[in-house]
């Protein structure tokens, strides 16, 4: 679900095909019948944006039928934990307890475990402006008082235990309701649920694959949470053949999250500091890390990172230069960043290997942001739309603006290609793989390593001698990297060494457990500690797969500590024995008194007895019992109910997409009440389908990618052999919609929202189908499919689907809703020049949206 694996990850899909050949059931739940559906045993078409309703139906099926893997659920999940009395599940309105209507956010304090002291109440100011406060993405859960277990009921019968709450919460998601919300025949949902149940348990496991089909919603995180609940109930986490697999779309999008170029985290998911902690490192640790579990050592991780960055300048006396880190106090993520550019608060912009004009929602808003900058640096291998926005854009075409009116100074810098530099990509399963440089970058092309290193060097030189305290972090930075070759490219391996870290005597760190909070160790990213263990580039291990076991431990290196399956303690029963011979993976060898297995590294202390119970006052990993696999959580349990970490509820709840043709059939709140909207002239929204003006945009559209192209096209529209495979922008519509709107197969269609109108060739196909949704009376909803790869530059051009989308974000992670919105469609090519603006204006008038 939420993934089109055969199309987007074809080579990964070989394993699915192979599994199917061996008897696995492959089911694909997706609004469209895709190449993945073609290979699946069953395709279930559902309305875009209704995944939680579908998954809720599955959860209800499991719970109401007693189909959960009871022993797993009782021991490994928080099903037995009792939640605070104050907690109230969603009511008819669709709101959990703690809703603060004036701010549009939750006070999450009532969602915690009973009997624990949660660090759950974030400052109100931070919550309203920003959810990445102490209590949000980046923070790592509530505190358990010194590992003291919360109140529990092992019989799972206490009315306020998680299991019972879960049962009640999902009881609404009956097959009938699912059918009406999703447009999925109930038999199909039940078939999926039954198949999942049958393929779970001791002898079997099932996996869930998702991708941005789940994340790009105003309830994206909760989509994944719903899957996590299913997998935990069925005992499919931490076991071979199980799991929830995020299929990521860029070569290093995982790596750029682990060692983040993201505003709210530091390497290894250490939260970015807020002003709250002021310059007190201990306060920061107290606010952001629980005492127990892996995060119990947050201070060691942070100090080691600060030592890696500021070296000698980071001392115990100055809190290891903690004050050198900038503070975040709001949502500084991608979309608010662009809005700040429009407001001329952000004046400079460096874009590296990304093409927001095509890849981000609301393209004209993106361009407007760029046009309001003082300076822009774009680094890419070809001249992408983001570099050319000032002379080639719809706004130029329609005469809305002219290059002369755009004051942005633009630097386009040719980047080195991946074959022209050493370095690692982290793949979708956390595996870091080293690439060897094949050739030197030609002409002005340089690696981004070179660019950053050079920029740092020059800034440091220009600031040298400054006595301004704000320049100290720059000047004190450890920045002497050896360079190589004619272009003086920095040696990437030395950076990996810094990431890995060293002891005071210069020895390389071999695992994160060695890190200290006294400044005696350095480590650029604690989860990567060990990647250079023994002075060897572990990511560059390339022993042929054919010479290894199926785990292939000597190919690349996986964080943390080279563990290939996370939470793999769960592959054994509470006593440490494999759940079954067939599915054995890691188990307790009582003779050797050690965890052993088929070749992976245990995600656990290697000698922790399964019967271990933490003593009073234990901290860190010592506070995790021998039968608690989920070591990243302070209680070591898998969370069916999320007592902290999320801002929109501890349990997944069905909400309609922001732009939806119908009301929420389950609750009064139509869409996620915590979603982030931006009421600005650049970002008009289509009226909801049920409100006046909504009828102007009666269809649902969803955006996606094709096998033959890559994301925003920078790496595929420059390649002739790919372009001939999918040369033109097209839309996919059902024969019924084509008949209704007079769309001609092979002809052209205009697709309209209040943002703009684009054109596309028409592909009429049964792979898109009308759905019957709602009740009293049910109505037919048509869906339009739009691939988003095209733009105005490159070897093939076409309108971008993202021109159509608004900014509306999931408040947990600030990802916009690309996957479901409303539109109109009509035959013909869109007007050129000023006539296009008139057409858009007309749509806005009809919909009652002010221009």
């Amino acid at each position: 679900m939420g993934s089109n694996m055969a199309e987007q990850h074809p080579v990964g899909f070989q394993w699915v095909v192979e599994a199917k050949e061996r008897g696995a059931s492959v089911m694909h739940v997706d609004p469209r019948f895709t190449r993945t559906s073609a290979m699946a045993d069953l395709h279930v078409p559902l309305r875009a944006g209704t995944d939680i309703a579908f998954l809720g139906g599955v959860i209800n099926y499991i719970l109401s039928g007693g189909r959960e893997f009871t022993e797993y659920v009782r021991h490994y999940t928080n099903a037995r934990v009792i939640i605070k009395d104050e907690f109230r599940d969603v009511d008819e309105l669709g709101l959990f307890s703690g809703w603060m209507p004036e701010d549009g956010v939750y006070d999450v304090s009532s969602w915690g475990y009973k009997g624990t002291q949660g660090e759950l109440t974030a400052g109100k100011k931070e919550q309203t402006g920003d959810v990445s406060g102490d209590q949000a993405h980046g923070a790592h859960g509530m505190k358990l008082e010194h590992g003291e277990p919360p109140e529990q009921d092992w019989t799972l019968e206490h009315p306020n235990c998680v299991f019972q709450i879960l049962k009640r919460h999902f009881a609404r998601y009956t097959p009938e309701v699912v059918e009406r919300i999703c447009g999925v025949p109930r038999e199909q949902m039940l078939h999926v649920a039954e198949t999942l149940c049958r393929n779970s348990g001791r002898e079997r496991t099932g996996a869930v694959c998702y991708a941005v089909g789940w994340t790009q919603h105003t309830h994206g995180v909760q989509n994944i949470r719903a899957a996590a609940i299913i997998q935990l109930l069925l005992g499919n986490i931490g076991r071979p053949g199980g799991g929830i697999l995020a299929l990521r779309g860029h070569a290093n999008i995982q790596g750029s999250t682990d060692i983040p170029t993201l505003y709210d985290i530091l390497p290894g998911y250490i939260p970015m500091p807020h002003p709250t902690s002021e310059d007190d490192l201990d306060r920061f640790v107290e606010l952001n890390g629980p005492d127990t579990g892996v995060w119990g050592s947050l201070k060691s991780y942070t100090v080691s990172m600060l030592k890696a960055w500021w070296g000698e300048a980071a001392t115990p006396a100055n809190n290891f230069a903690y004050s050198y880190l900038p503070r975040i106090d709001g949502d500084h993520s991608h979309y608010p960043m662009m809005l700040r550019m429009i407001d001329r608060e952000t004046k400079g912009f460096i874009v590296i290997g990304q093409n927001p004009v095509v890849g981000s929602a609301n393209s004209s808003l993106q361009r407007k942001a760029l046009a309001n900058l003082d300076w822009l640096v774009v680094r890419d291998t070809s001249e992408i739309e983001t570099a050319a926005f000032w002379y080639d854009s719809p706004e130029i075409e329609t005469g809305k603006t002219r290059p002369e009116e755009i004051g942005t100074e633009v630097f386009f810098m040719p980047a080195a290609a991946y074959t022209e530099k050493d370095g690692t990509f982290t793949n979708t399963q956390r595996l870091l793989q080293w690439r060897f440089k094949a050739v030197e970058p030609p002409w002005d092309c340089r690696s981004d390593l070179w660019f950053t290193h050079q920029l740092g060097k020059r800034v440091r030189e220009k600031l040298a001698g400054s006595d301004d305290p704000k320049d100290r972090p720059i000047l004190d930075l450890t920045w002497d990297y050896p360079t190589q070759g004619p272009q003086k490219e920095p040696d990437a391996e030395t950076i990996m060494q810094e990431v890995n870290g060293r002891h005071a005597d210069g020895r390389f760190i071999s695992k994160y457990q060695e890190l200290k909070d006294d400044g005696s160790t350095t480590c650029g990213s604690w989860i990567h500690a060990g990647i250079y263990a023994d002075g060897v580039n572990q990511a560059a291990r390339k022993r042929p797969g054919s010479e290894q076991s199926w785990i292939a431990p000597e190919w690349g290196w996986a964080w943390p500590a080279d563990r290939r399956i996370l939470y793999n303690r769960a592959s054994a029963d509470p006593a440490g024995k494999p759940w079954s011979e067939r599915k054995r993976y890691i188990w307790w060898d009582s003779d050797k008194r050690a965890w052993t297995g088929v070749g992976d590294n245990p995600d656990f202390e290697p000698d922790k007895d399964p019967g271990y119970e933490p003593p009073e006052g234990a901290k860190g990993m010592a506070a995790i019992s021998g039968s608690s696999p989920f070591i990243v959580h302070p209680d070591g349990l898998g969370w069916l109910f999320s007592p902290s970490g999320l801002v929109d509820g501890p349990l997944p709840t069905h909400y309609e997409p922001h732009e939806s043709p119908i009301d929420n059939l389950l609750y009064r709140e139509r869409s996620n009440p915590t979603r982030q909207t931006f009421e600005r002239p650049e970002n008009p929204y289509n009226p909801p389908g049920v409100e006046p003006g909504g009828e102007v945009f009666p269809f649902v559209f969803t955006t996606y990618r094709l096998t033959e192209h890559h994301t925003a096209g920078g790496m595929s529209r420059s390649v002739p052999f790919l372009n001939e495979l999918q040369p033109e922008m097209f839309c996919e519509v059902s024969p019924e919609l084509a008949a209704e709107r007079g769309l001609e197969h092979g002809g052209w269609a205009m697709i309209a929202t209040t943002r703009t109108v684009i054109e596309a060739r028409v592909l009429v196909t049964d792979r898109l189908r009308p759905l019957r949704i709602g009740s009293d009376p049910p109505r037919t909803v048509h869906q339009v499919g739009l691939p988003y790869h095209w733009g105005r530059k490159g070897l093939v051009t076409g309108d971008s689907a993202n021109e159509l989308l608004p900014l509306v974000l999931d408040r947990n992670v600030h990802i916009s809703e690309y996957k479901a919105a409303t539109c109109d469609i009509r035959p013909g090519r869109r007007p050129r020049g000023p006539a296009l603006r008139e057409l858009v204006a007309e749509y806005r008038r009809r919909a009652g949206v002010s221009s």
């Binding site: 790596g255 874009v351 590296i352 650029g524």
Partner: protein, 186 residues
């Protein structure tokens, strides 16, 4: 040239290939054919730059130019296989529209200008320093530390290496920038 009609192939037909369908028809070019994977100067192991499956690649280099990129059969992830994008990697690195020189567009200009790499780096460093100074925020209204700038932002990282992301996060954070984002947000 040792053309295909010398020595007369139709006479070779008499030696065991009467219909002239097989060996006798084979040209010298065919006999001497060698794959460029064999004639390459070197081959390095790499990883596909497109999605995050992380398929192994082998990059063949001849005369300091990439001449072929194909799947690495050693990879336990991909077993030598590649999707269409991965298979097109050589065309990507040698794309007909790949840019090799800096392009510079002054404010309000209507066209690109040339610029030396060194000068461009210097100018960008100046702009970072200037914008940072102009937009520096020392503390919150209630006097808590911010020590940051929202004046310039950085976007991108998912197509780059982890080492590059590390250096970017390290430098731009040290410079006080917090709006550092990448594709993971979309």
């Amino acid at each position: 040239m040792a053309g295909p009609i010398s020595p007369l192939p139709f006479l070779r037909q008499l030696r065991g290939d009467p219909l002239g369908l097989g060996r006798s028809a084979r040209s010298r070019h065919s006999e001497e054919l060698e794959p460029r994977t064999k004639t390459a100067d070197r081959v390095v192991q790499s990883v596909c730059p497109y999605c995050a499956v992380g398929c192994g690649q082998r990059v063949y280099v001849k005369d300091e130019k990439v001449v072929q990129i194909e799947g690495d059969p050693d990879s336990p992830i991909s077993r030598g296989r590649l999707c269409p994008k991965g298979s097109a990697s050589e065309s990507y690195v040698n794309s007909p529209i790949r840019e090799y020189k800096i392009k510079y567009r002054p404010p309000h200009a209507t066209g690109w200008e040339e610029l030396e790499l060194d000068a461009a780096m210097d100018m960008i460093a100046d702009r970072v320093i200037r914008t940072r100074a102009q937009t520096w925020e020392e503390e919150t209204e209630d006097g808590k530390p911010l020590r940051r700038t929202l004046g310039f932002a950085v976007l991108g990282g998912a197509t780059l290496d982890s080492e590059e992301n590390y250096l970017m996060k390290k430098f731009f954070s040290a410079a006080g920038a917090v709006s550092i984002e990448n594709q993971a947000r979309i």
